[in-house]
Amino acid sequence: MTTHPLSGVAAVAGIGATEFSKFSGRSELQLACEAVLAALADAGVKPSDVDGLVTFTADTNSEIHIARNTGMGELTFFSRIGYGGGAACATVQQAAMAVATGAAGVVVCYRAFNERSGERYGLGQADRPMDTSADRAAYAWMTPFGLNTPAQWVAMFARRYMHEYGATTEDFGRVAVVDRAHAANNPAAYFHKRPITLADHQSSRWIAEPLRLLDCCQETDGGQALVVVSAERARDLPHPPAVIRGAAQGLGADQHMMTSYYRPTITGIPEMGLTGRQLYRQSGLTPAEIDAAILYDHFTPLVLPQLEELGFCGRGEAKDFIADGHLELGGSLPLNTHGGQLGEAYLHGMNGIAEGVRLVRGTSVNQPANVGHVLVTAGTGVPTSGLVLGADR
């Protein structure tokens, strides 16, 4: 393939999750432990083999608690990534870099929360405590004015995108319909057997115009973990390796948290373009060689500019690309075959990486034929990350 030092060196060898619910009834730490142990069992390695952990700065389950509860021994590498869901694929990048450099041999990436029964991100920042940090002060330009929630922040981008490219809320709705169609076949999905129509989308209530209820992802209790080892070691483990062909982060110029409204244009996602260019350079692939995509879908409107930034279609053309059926099973780029965060669960993007692994293994509930390479993205509107996972051939 290529000679990039990170490409092909490491692989995801195990995936594991809890059930996805609205009320787990147990602690976030327990969810994390369950997911980690499930992923290790899937990989066929013991907790005592683990020497590295990576999670989100947003996660409440510190490495020390995971390590001592699951019976890991000594760790030589532990790292955390910021910026909410933008961290998802970067946890795997960190793990791959640790494996590539020898900092660790078996790295577990994890994320677990009671995001529905506990602290709900969807309620927004209005009533969060204030301090004088720069991160908090950034909210001074939003919350006193009443722009408080992720849906509202995304709606501002969506309105401008509609204005510049002639997209409609139906174009956003088609993303939800695809996600929910895929979730309908997935027994692990919260919306298993509950597909929606575009008419359902159009009649769902406004949350933050132009976003309707069915443009918004779920809020979920659950945990997801992934085990990263060297590609060589992965070949001796039970499942076919999901080889990490590319792994990259991106922080765009004049980047803000969810409100990068001050750039010359706000209809693109420059940090995703930056991530995508690195992924293609590392993997030596072109967009046409990507067989399926897991694109971060906390809100449908930002799936459209992702398709454009990642080179699957031209600027402003995503609405037509979607309407032409490319994202459906049997299309040129099946999207979110697990149902996405709208259909399966909102695990801050980590469940999407697990689906990328299943697609490479050939075990997705919506498995397209001949998947060689899957592109996975992390959160949009924030500094982000992405992965290209590939079959070991």
């Binding site: 069992a41 009533d127 004088t132 002060a137 330009w141 006193p144 722009l147 001050y262 075990t363």
Partner: protein
């Protein structure tokens, strides 16, 4: 717990199932009352109730009705097993959870945070006499599907309390029904009429800005109804949101210019949910592009939602939200008709 890699992934946990699992379950184990049935408590009760029937206080009068002695009023049954405040407080913090606490926690998680007692049906098996010692246990009989009521959406939780004597014989039962409900959201506000910016009355305060050394000048300017834009003192480039360092030239020196107040709608959002109590809904909010070239988030006023359009010319106004917070708002600029 299973890995999602397994084909037979564990089913999702279901709130309804968890709730219905409480049916038939003991919420409070059989607990004896603190005191046996006794004359002083009966006397206080009947005096408070104004019930002068002598069978409760006079042995001879009781004998005359064929009773073996003084009896307790039937409706006192709950009084014999009531715990004092201190006992309740201790139990709430004591280790070892009761089914009752678990059920409340689950109801709370479902949003059913409010409670009202709806009805109570008693059946009395025998009269209590002085010296009887009553205990009570409580079991869930049913939890209804979600119902819409005048108070809000909720579930009727019916329990059966069984009162028994020192020999374990049932002396009374009580079917106890409460409505556990979700307090309703405030009624949607009518569409705001185009009208001058005003301070909403009797609403919560708007969220406080996190003010620090880098942004305090802007909020101080706003209190004086001056919309300031930070300007690099070295290269004169304007920037918003402000920061300590110029991204163009790296200078840490800056001053401000006061914006003209002329602007355009760059994008906008109409907020419906969730409804923060400081705002009226639907709530119209925009990114506006100032004539000077910077953008900022601000409310729009004096315009109907359906009339807002990207590119619409705006003029600055001010909202004195509360004594400590003034914010710029924008209204449509008068169109020139020549």
């Amino acid at each position: 717990m299973k890995g999602v890699a397994d084909a037979d992934h564990a089913g999702r946990s279901d709130y309804e199932e968890r709730l219905q699992a409480f049916v038939g379950r003991e919420l409070n184990a059989r607990t004896p009352g603190p005191d046996p049935v006794n004359q002083p408590m009966i006397r206080h009760w009947t005096a408070a109730m104004g019930d002068a029937n002598p069978v409760y206080t006079d042995t001879e009068a009781a004998h005359a009705t064929g009773r073996p002695g003084v009896v307790a009023p039937a409706s006192m049954i709950q009084a014999w097993t009531m715990r004092g405040y201190g006992a309740s407080a201790v139990s709430a913090s004591a280790p070892g959870r009761r089914g009752f606490d678990e059920l409340l926690e689950l109801l709370d998680a479902g949003g059913y945070t409010s409670v009202v007692a709806t009805d109570s049906e008693f059946e009395f098996v025998r009269e209590l006499v002085v010296g009887d010692h009553v205990a009570v246990c409580e079991v869930v009989e049913s939890i209804s599907a979600e119902k819409r009521t005048g108070l809000g959406t909720g579930r009727f939780v019916t329990t059966l309390k069984t009162y028994s004597d020192q020999d374990g014989e049932t002396v009374a039962t009580q079917r106890w029904r409460t409505l556990r409900f979700r307090p309703p959201e405030p009624e949607p506000e009518p569409e705001p009429e185009p009208e001058p910016a005003r301070v909403p009355e009797s609403r919560s305060l708007r969220p406080r800005p996190a003010v620090n050394r880098d942004n305090a000048f802007w909020f101080e300017g706003a209190r004086e109804h001056r919309l300031l834009v930070q300007r690099c003192a070295a290269c004169s480039v304007l920037r918003h949101p402000p920061g300590p360092c110029c991204p163009e030239c790296g200078s840490l020196a800056w001053d401000t210019v006061e914006a003209s107040g002329r602007a355009q709608v760059y994008s906008f959002v109409v907020n419906h949910h969730p409804r923060h109590p400081a705002f009226e809904f639907p709530h119209l909010i925009a990114v506006v592009a100032l004539e000077e070239g910077t953008r900022l988030i601000a409310g729009l006023t004096g315009v109907a939602i359906e009339d807002v359009a990207i590119g619409m010319p705006l003029i600055l106004d001010w909202l004195d939200a509360d004594p400590d917070l003034s914010l710029p708002v924008f209204r449509p600029a008068a169109t020139e008709t020549n």
